[in-house]
C-alpha cells in the first residue's frame, strides 16, 4: 500500500478528538467551537431554547428529542436509562429533567448516568455565579452532577389592588398571613390566600418552615420527622384556614380552581408560590387581570429566619457516556447563560421562561420582568432576595416525595380532613418510600 504522508497527517489530525481540546482547561471549553453530533432530551418547555441553539450553532448536528420531562415522580428516565445501560448504547448526551431529584439517582448505581461536572469541567466562572443552594442541590456525594436551569424559590405573591382595596397590609410573617386569612374569611368570603391542593404543597408550606421531612444525615440515612414542631406548628396554622376556606384544597391548575378564583372572578388575594408562577399561573393559567400583582419576601415564622421553599427548578444533566463532551458542555452552558441573557431575542419569553440560575442572566430576566406592565409593582426584588433563602435542610433524595404528599394528604384534605391529622400518614408514607429506596430512616 502506498504510503501517503499527506493522508496520514490528515488522518491523524482528524483522529484527534475534540474532547481532548476541551478537557485541557476550563476556559478551553469556552473557546473551542462546539461541533459534531449531539443528542439532547428536553421537555416541551425547553424546546424553543434547544431549537434556537441548533439555529445559532450550525456546526453542531443537534438531534432534539422531546419527552415528558419526567415530572411529578414519573419513572420515564429510570426506565430509559436502565434499558440503555443494558444495551450499552443509546444514551442522550444531555437531559433536561423537570424532576429536581433526578440527578441524585442518576449519579448513583445502578443508573450511573450523570457526568461529573466539578473541578472545572463545567466552567467554574459560571458555577461561581450560580447561587450556593442551587449548586448544593446539584452536588451528590461531593460531585457536581448537574446545573440548574432556573431557580424556583418561593415568594409571597399578593394582589396589590385588592389588598389596598380591602385595607390590608402585606404580611411579613406566617402568623400575620394567617390572621389575614381569618379576616378574609369573615369580611370577604370567597377570596383565598393560598392553596394546599398542589402536588407540591408540602414544599410551599412545610419546606418553607423548615419541617424535616427529607433531611439527609448521611449518604443513605434520611431524617423524617413529621411530628417536629416546625411541621406541627405550620399544620396548626393552616387547619383553621382550610376550615374557613381562605386556603383552598384544590390545585391551582385544575379547571375548578380557574373557574372559581381565576379570570374575571379574580378571587386570589395572596398566594405563596415559586418564581415561575408570575407568568405561568397568574397570567397564563388563571388569566387574572393585569396591573394587580406584586411580590413580597417569603413569609417567616415570627421573628425566625427567613426560610423558604422551592418548587422545581429543573436541572441539566450531561451523560457520563457522551462522546462529545465539548458540545454537551457548550449546549448546557449556552442554555444557562447566553439564552437567558439575550433579552433582545424575539423568542425570549419562550427561550427563557423561568428565573435564570446564572446571576447575569437573572439580572437581564429580572429587568424585563420588572418592566412588564402585567405587574402592579416590580416583582423582581423579592425574588432576588429569596434566591438565597431556600432552606438547606430539605435535601434531595433518590425517591420523589410529591406522590406521597398527593396520595396520602391531598386526597384526604379534599375529603375534609385536617392537615394536622394527616401529618403522621405523610411521615409514614415518606418513610416507606425512603426504605423501599434503600435509605435508613431516623427521626432525630
Amino acid at each position: 500500500m502506498k504510503f501517503n504522508r499527506r493522508r496520514l497527517a490528515l488522518t491523524l489530525l482528524a483522529a484527534t478528538p475534540v474532547t481532548a481540546l476541551a478537557t485541557t482547561s476550563a476556559e478551553g471549553a469556552r473557546t473551542a467551537t462546539a461541533s459534531g453530533s449531539l443528542t439532547v432530551w428536553v421537555d416541551s418547555v425547553r424546546l424553543p431554547a434547544a431549537k434556537l441553539y441548533a439555529k445559532t450553532h450550525p456546526k453542531v448536528k443537534l438531534h432534539i428529542v422531546t419527552f415528558d420531562g419526567d415530572s411529578n415522580g414519573a419513572t420515564t428516565l429510570q426506565a430509559k436509562i436502565q434499558l440503555w445501560n443494558r444495551t450499552g448504547h443509546g444514551w442522550p448526551d444531555v437531559i433536561f429533567s423537570e424532576q429536581v431529584n433526578d440527578p441524585v439517582w442518576m449519579a448513583s448505581k445502578p443508573f450511573d448516568y450523570a457526568a461529573d461536572l466539578g473541578k472545572g469541567v463545567f466552567p467554574t466562572s459560571i458555577v461561581k455565579q450560580i447561587p450556593g443552594p442551587s449548586i448544593a442541590q446539584c452536588t451528590v456525594t461531593g460531585h457536581l452532577v448537574c446545573i440548574q436551569d432556573n431557580l424556583a424559590q418561593e415568594v409571597l405573591y399578593y394582589n396589590k389592588k385588592l389588598m389596598s382595596q380591602f385595607g390590608y397590609s402585606v404580611p411579613k410573617t406566617w402568623q400575620q398571613w394567617a390572621a389575614l386569612g381569618d379576616k378574609v374569611a369573615k369580611d370577604h368570603p370567597g377570596y383565598i390566600i393560598g392553596t394546599l391542593g398542589d402536588s407540591y404543597g408540602h414544599w410551599l408550606y412545610l419546606w418553607a418552615n423548615q419541617c424535616p421531612l427529607s433531611s439527609l444525615k448521611g449518604p443513605n440515612t434520611v431524617l423524617i420527622n413529621a411530628s417536629d414542631p416546625h411541621c406541627t406548628q405550620m399544620a396548626n396554622l393552616l387547619d383553621p384556614l382550610l376550615a374557613n376556606k381562605s386556603v383552598s384544597d384544590v390545585t391551582v391548575f385544575s379547571p375548578d380552581f380557574a373557574k372559581q378564583y381565576g379570570g374575571s372572578a379574580d378571587k386570589v388575594l395572596m398566594m405563596p408560590g415559586p418564581t415561575w408562577y408570575a407568568y405561568a399561573v397568574f397570567r397564563d393559567t388563571l388569566k387574572l387581570p393585569a396591573g394587580e400583582w406584586a411580590t413580597s419576601t417569603p413569609l417567616q415564622w415570627g421573628s425566625g429566619p427567613v426560610t423558604t421553599g422551592q418548587v422545581g427548578g429543573g436541572p441539566w444533566i450531561i451523560s457520563r457516556h457522551t462522546k462529545n463532551m465539548a458540545a454537551a458542555l457548550d449546549f448546557v452552558k449556552w442554555n444557562v447563560t447566553t439564552a437567558k441573557t439575550n433579552t433582545k431575542e424575539p423568542n425570549y419569553a419562550a427561550v427563557s421562561p423561568g428565573y435564570p440560575s446564572y446571576k447575569p442572566a437573572a439580572a437581564a430576566w429580572l429587568k424585563s420582568l420588572n418592566a412588564d406592565p402585567f405587574f402592579a409593582a416590580p416583582p423582581g426584588p423579592a425574588m432576588q432576595a429569596a434566591a438565597n433563602d431556600i432552606w438547606k435542610g430539605w435535601n434531595l433524595v433518590t425517591y420523589p416525595d410529591q406522590p406521597v404528599w398527593s396520595n396520602s394528604v391531598v386526597t384526604q384534605l379534599v375529603a375534609g380532613k385536617s392537615l394536622s391529622s394527616l401529618l403522621p400518614a405523610l411521615g409514614q408514607g415518606l418513610s416507606q418510600a425512603a426504605q423501599a429506596a434503600g435509605y435508613k430512616v431516623v427521626s432525630k
Binding site: D68, N72, G73, A74, T75, Q78, A79, Q82, P110, F111, G197, D198, S199, D249, V250, T251, F253, S254, P255, D256, K259, Q402, P403, W405, S406, N407, V410, T411, V414, A415, Q432, A436, A437
Partner: protein
Amino acid sequence: MEAARKRGLHVPRGLPFVLPYLPFLVVFGLAPTAYALDLAFTNAGGGWAWFHNFVRTYNDYRFMPAFKHVLLYTSVWLATLVVLVVGLALLLHGRANRVSSTFRFVFYMPGALAGAAAVLVWLFMLDPVVSPGSFFLRHVLGATLFAQAIAPANLPYIFAMIAFWTGAGGWIVVMYGALNTIPHDLEEAARIDGAGPIAIALRLKLPLMRKWIAYMVILSFATGTQLFVEPQLVNQASLGLVPDTWSANQLAYQLAFRYADFNGAAAIAVDLLVIGLVGAVLIVTRTGLFRTDD
C-alpha cells in the same frame, strides 16, 4: 391417507399450517415467559433465590393494596362485562338490522379510544366542573371536585367503568357474530313452538354462546389482573393523587424500572400468572373449551 403414504412422507395433519406461528410463539411468548420465571427465582447476581423474591415483594407495603385493588376491579369488571355484554348482544340480535348495526357502532365507538385517549376523555367526564355527567357525579358519587371523584374508594369502580366503556363494544361485536352462527331454522323452530324472545334467548342462544362467553371471561380475567394503562395515566394526569403502584402490574413496573429490581418484578408477574392460570383452568374445565367435536 393412502395418497400421503404413497408419497412416502407422512406429515402430521395440520402441522404445516401451524409451523409459521411457532417461531413467534417461542420468541415472543415462551422464551420471554421462561426468562421471566428464571428472573423470579434468581437474585440480581444470577444465583438461585428460592422463594425469596416472592416473600420480599409480598412484604412490600404496596403489595397487598395493589392486589386487593386489582382483584376487586377484576370482579366488578367481569360481572358487568358478562351480564351487560351478553345482555346487550342478545338485545341487539333482533330483526331490525339497520337499527342494530347503528347501535353496535355506537357501542363500539369508545373502543376506538385506546388507553391514553379514553383516560383523557374520562378525566373530563369525571370532573364535575366540566363533565356533561356532572349530575351523576354530584348525586351518585357525591363529588363536587375531580379529586373527590377519583377518591381511593371509587377507583376500582371507575376503572371498571372505563374498561367497560372501551372494551364492551368489541366483545358485543364478537358475541353478535357468535349469535349469527346460530342457524335460523333453530330459532324459527323454537318460535313456532311458542317460545317467547326471553325464553329463546336464555334457553337457545345463551348455551350456544357458551364457548365465546368462556373465552371472553378468561381473557378479561387476564387483562383485568394486568390493569396498567388506566391507573398509570390517571396517576400522570392527577399529578399523583392516584399512586403509581395502584395496580399489581404497576408495582411490577416500578420495581423493574425505578428500583432496577427485575427479580421482584418477575415475582409479581408470576403471581399474576398463577392467578390468571387458576382462573383459566377453572373456566376451561367447567365449560369444556378444549373439546374439539369429532
